[in-house]
């Protein structure tokens, strides 16, 4: 036998899953006991507690730490346990099998790199055996072995084992999951756990312990295209450090990075680290890293940095497979917080395509809600564009969670990009930004000189609601305060820039809004606060606002909606003014909003918040 205490060179996280009472905790206890991995006195302590309570000792009690768990004989929450074997340190996560505690099982499995899935030989394949098998696949745990337990209760019969293997393989094959191994064991009696069983000479494969060493540490992610999710930006000293985790690929000093969805670009100037000599010059998948850039561009948490040749996808919508763990059902049209890597944005479920029954993978259509512990296929629509990948190509940037009120209530993997109506304009903006020729004066220089950042204040609403009047008043106020503001009036574009268009073409919102947006984009680059209205678009202002947003992205757009009666403002409106307007009060409110968004006042201090700007 190898020396079990030899120095570990790597960690591997393993989860044990399966139906309730199929013996997960017992397997874990036995594995530790038979490899001599339990601390002195642990076995005796638990045995003494059992005697005191007048019940038979079980290996499961070793890790079911809560009194309630021992009294009920079930695992309530996942336990992390540790042991070193053959040069590896294992963190084994014992997940509960009871369906009540599915969220705990999922929390355990989401941390794992490999899994052992237990099936009781006497009971056979049960509901949670299937659900857990399916969820492992959904959670991205691709390496696993199926352990058929309690072989002692079926007289160690090969045909029982073979029957379960056949049935379960068929189930797994429907979603293309292939286990590394099927192992017949008795956890209670120690057959094929750490030691080979003498009762089952017909089985010549590896024991559970041997199987652990077969699992590989996933290492291939460094060979993928670069994905660095921006976590935060620090300025504790002279350095402005962009931090984040490299979830795929590698980077080095001098690399040209593109940040999505803002399309900002810069070169890596340095890789920053504390107490590492000499200072590193590169990074690879898995690392939490800090870099500085050669240009002071404003990037935000939630953006994904990549190389220009291999960009992530960008859209406001995607299709996904989701498991729901929320206290209340997932409902179409409700607001949730979407978190993809470090990006956080409001979203709603645009449609629920089908609910998937994990027992037989049958699909049920026409639901308007997904209940707790159900799996569903749905389309998610976010309030703002998000950078992401398909989960089939990138693990970390291809999955997400949904937050309902205060709680993470569901998780999923992205299966498809859903095209939205801004796709062409977004592509235009991306191509234009990549080719943008800059002068010597940067955004930061202008912001420092002017004492504010560039932004668009856009007034929306029907006719005769006072938009033009308020826009003029705001421009006047800003200039009087020493800000660089300019009223962009659509009429001035019509006679000049749009002079080549026919009367009919001038009536088409799409092209008019595109031209308008590109002019606004130029003005933004001069560092101005652009004040404007949607007057040239008449009642098609909703569509126009969307197009302008896409084209000036990522500059902040402060949208002010004016109406005479109560009506639904366009999405993402910041200030709503309905009924008769007090124009002085309205101006003050907009000035406040400009401050709140960081346009007028630059945040200074140990914890800077950087706002969008070009």
């Amino acid at each position: 036998m190898d020396n079990p205490t030899q120095k570990p060179s790597e960690n591997l996280n393993i989860v044990i899953v399966g139906h309730v009472d199929h013996g997960k905790s017992t397997l874990l206890g036995r594995l530790y006991a038979d490899t001599g991995s339990l601390p002195d006195g642990k076995l005796e302590k638990v045995q003494a507690i059992c005697r005191q309570q007048g019940k038979e000792f079980e290996y499961a009690f070793l890790f079911d730490a809560f009194l309630e768990e021992q009294e009920q004989g079930i695992t309530i929450d996942t336990a992390r346990t540790f042991f070193a074997w053959k040069g590896r340190q294992y963190i084994i996560i014992d997940a509960p099998g009871h369906k009540e505690f599915l969220k705990n099982m999922i929390s355990g499995a989401a941390r794992a790199e490999a899994a052992l899935l237990l099936i009781d030989a006497l009971e056979g394949v049960k509901e949670q055996s299937k659900k857990h098998g399916y969820l492992l696949s959904l959670l991205g745990v691709r390496q696993f072995a199926v352990v058929v337990n309690k072989m002692d209760l079926v007289g160690y019969r090969q045909d029982v084992f073979a029957g379960i293997e056949k049935e379960y393989r068929e189930f797994l094959s429907q979603f293309k999951a292939v286990p590394a191994q099927f192992i017949p064991v008795s956890a209670k009696l120690g057959d094929n756990i750490a030691n080979r069983s003498e009762k089952m000479p017909w089985y010549t494969g590896p024991t559970v312990l041997d199987t652990l060493s077969v699992f590989k540490k996933e290492a291939a992610r460094s060979e993928q295209p670069l994905r660095l999710s921006v976590q935060d930006i620090y300025k504790f000293d002279a350095r402005r450090i962009v931090t984040g985790r490299i979830t795929a690929g590698r980077l080095k000093v001098g690399d040209h990075l593109v940040f999505s969805p803002s399309n900002k670009r810069a070169n890596i100037k340095s890789v920053e680290a504390f107490n590492i000599e000499p200072q590193p010059t590169e990074g690879r998948a898995g690392q939490s890293i800090g870099i500085t850039l050669d240009e002071q561009i404003f990037v935000e948490r939630g953006e994904i940095a990549s190389h220009q040749e291999q960009l992530p996808l960008v859209s406001t919508a995607f299709r996904a497979n989701v498991f729901w763990l929320g206290k209340r059902p997932l409902e179409k049209g409700r607001k949730y917080l979407l978190r993809v890597a470090t990006k956080e944005v409001d979203c709603e479920v645009a449609s629920i395509h089908r609910i998937i029954d994990t027992m037989d993978l049958a699909q049920q259509q026409g639901s308007s809600a997904v209940n707790r512990n159900q799996v569903a296929e749905l389309t998610v629509r976010a309030k703002a564009p998000v950078a992401f990948d398909l989960s089939a190509s990138f693990e970390a940037t291809g999955r997400f969670v949904l937050v309902d009120e205060y709680d993470i209530a569901g998780g999923g993997i992205i299966t498809e990009l859903v095209h939205d109506d801004q796709e062409f304009l977004r592509e235009e903006a991306r191509r234009r930004d990549f080719a943008w020729v800059k002068g010597e004066v940067g955004v930061e220089d202008r912001a420092q000189q002017y004492g504010h950042r560039a932004a668009v204040v856009l007034f929306t609403g029907g006719r005769h609601t006072g938009k033009s009047f308020l826009a003029r008043k705001l421009e006047g106020r800003l200039v009087a305060d020493g800000r660089h503001a300019y009223l962009l009036d659509g009429e001035n574009l019509r006679r000049g820039l749009d002079a080549d268009l026919s009367e009919e073409e001038r009536g088409q919102t799409t092209e008019m809004a595109r031209r308008y947006g590109e002019v606004a984009r130029l003005l933004i680059d001069t560092g101005l606060i652009v004040v404007s209205t949607t007057n040239p678009f008449g009642l098609a202002y909703r569509e126009a606002v969307q197009a302008i947003r896409t084209l000036v992205n990522p500059a902040p757009v402060i949208a002010v909606h004016m109406s005479k009666a109560d009506e639904e403002p366009p999405p993402n409106t910041d200030v709503v003014l309905s009924g008769p307007t007090d124009f002085d009060a309205a101006t003050r409110r907009i000035m406040e909003e400009l401050k709140r968004r960081g346009v007028l006042a630059q945040a200074i201090g140990a914890k800077p918040t950087f706002q969008y700007s070009i």
């Binding site: 205490t5 120095k7 570990p8 060179s9 790597e10 960690n11 001599g36 339990l38 601390p39 002195d40 006195g41 890790f63 730490a65 809560f66 009194l67 309630e68 309530i76 929450d77 336990a79 992390r80 346990t81 540790f82 340190q89 963190i91 969220k103 705990n104 999922i106 929390s107 989401a110 976590q231 935060d232 620090y234 504790f236 000293d237 450090i241 931090t243 985790r245 920053e272 680290a273 504390f274 107490n275 898995g286 690392q287 939490s288 800090g290 948490r301 763990l325 890597a341 970390a396 999955r399 969670v401 937050v403 009120e405 205060y406 709680d407 993470i408 209530a409 998780g411 140990a606 914890k607």
Partner: protein
């Protein structure tokens, strides 16, 4: 030492998530090996800075050498040290002879709760590890505590991939545990690898004993050991089967489950 870098990357990620999401954040520092490694990881995460206060709940029963060490590092590393103490309980004569769980609850749990309430911290970073003890093995990286600071272990929030619970109702707070995946050996390997200063109470200073876990003087007993440096400690740990906290009185019976349910670290 690839596995140490993996652990470090994960802990740094967690610390940065905590700093991003909690405006009123603090870290608990008991000067023991774990929370000192945690402090070092904060300096890693924030490039030599520690951008939040360090809390020490002083029971008045700590070993004097620990206080000296605390004040020295606070000076050298320019730490914002906040010291809390349940003065009422001490004035009323609370001491370990009144029962260990009773004393721990009064001086540590309640001392901590008072401090959190006074300062209004909404996120508290702690150096607990899953391999120390059974209930800690079941913790989340981000673990909510209710209005009374209690831990509802029956209904813990899901924790998926690298997404943690960072939103919470007013009046409650979150405990953040960046060291959950570290073992006792990992801690010492890292101390050696990074050359982190630690208290020499962890070493045999000539009498054939050392402390393996540090708590209050009356309730912590040294173990027999001749480990005179970090290498010796690592060697000893690789070959021991004695539990780390066997010298900690509060772990007897169901002590820790009861203590932790009520908000103990």
């Amino acid at each position: 030492m690839k596995h140490l870098r993996q652990l470090e990357d994960q802990s740094v990620y967690i610390l940065r998530e905590a700093y991003k999401h909690f405006d009123n954040l603090a870290m608990l520092w008991s000067m023991g090996k774990d929370s000192t490694v945690l402090l070092w990881l904060a300096r890693k995460a924030f490039f030599g800075h520690v951008p939040f206060p360090l809390l020490h709940v002083d029971t008045s029963y700590k070993i004097p050498a620990m206080i000296e060490y605390r004040d020295r590092l606070a000076r050298e590393w320019r730490l914002d040290l906040v010291i809390g103490q349940n003065k009422e309980a001490l004035a009323a004569g609370m001491n370990p002879s009144m029962g260990r769980v009773v004393c721990c609850t009064a001086l540590k749990t309640n001392g901590l709760k008072q401090l959190l309430e006074q300062k209004g911290y909404t996120g508290v970073i702690l150096g607990v590890r899953a391999d120390e003890e059974g209930t800690r093995a079941k913790e989340r990286y981000f673990s909510p505590r209710d209005k009374h600071g209690d831990w509802d272990f029956r209904d813990q929030p899901p924790e998926l991939w690298d997404q943690y619970k960072t939103t919470f109702p007013p009046g409650t707070h979150i405990r953040i545990h960046p060291l959950l995946d570290w073992t006792e050996i990992n801690i010492w390997e890292y101390i050696k690898y990074e050359n982190i200063p630690f208290i020499d109470l962890y070493l045999d200073r000539g009498d054939g004993t050392r402390y393996r876990s540090l708590g209050c003087a009356p309730c912590t007993t040294p173990i027999k050991s001749t480990a005179k440096n970090v290498d010796d400690i690592i060697h000893e740990l690789r070959h021991t089967t004695v539990a780390e906290r066997s010298g900690r009185a509060q772990d007897e019976g169901r002590g820790m489950e009861l203590l932790r349910k009520d908000g103990y670290m």
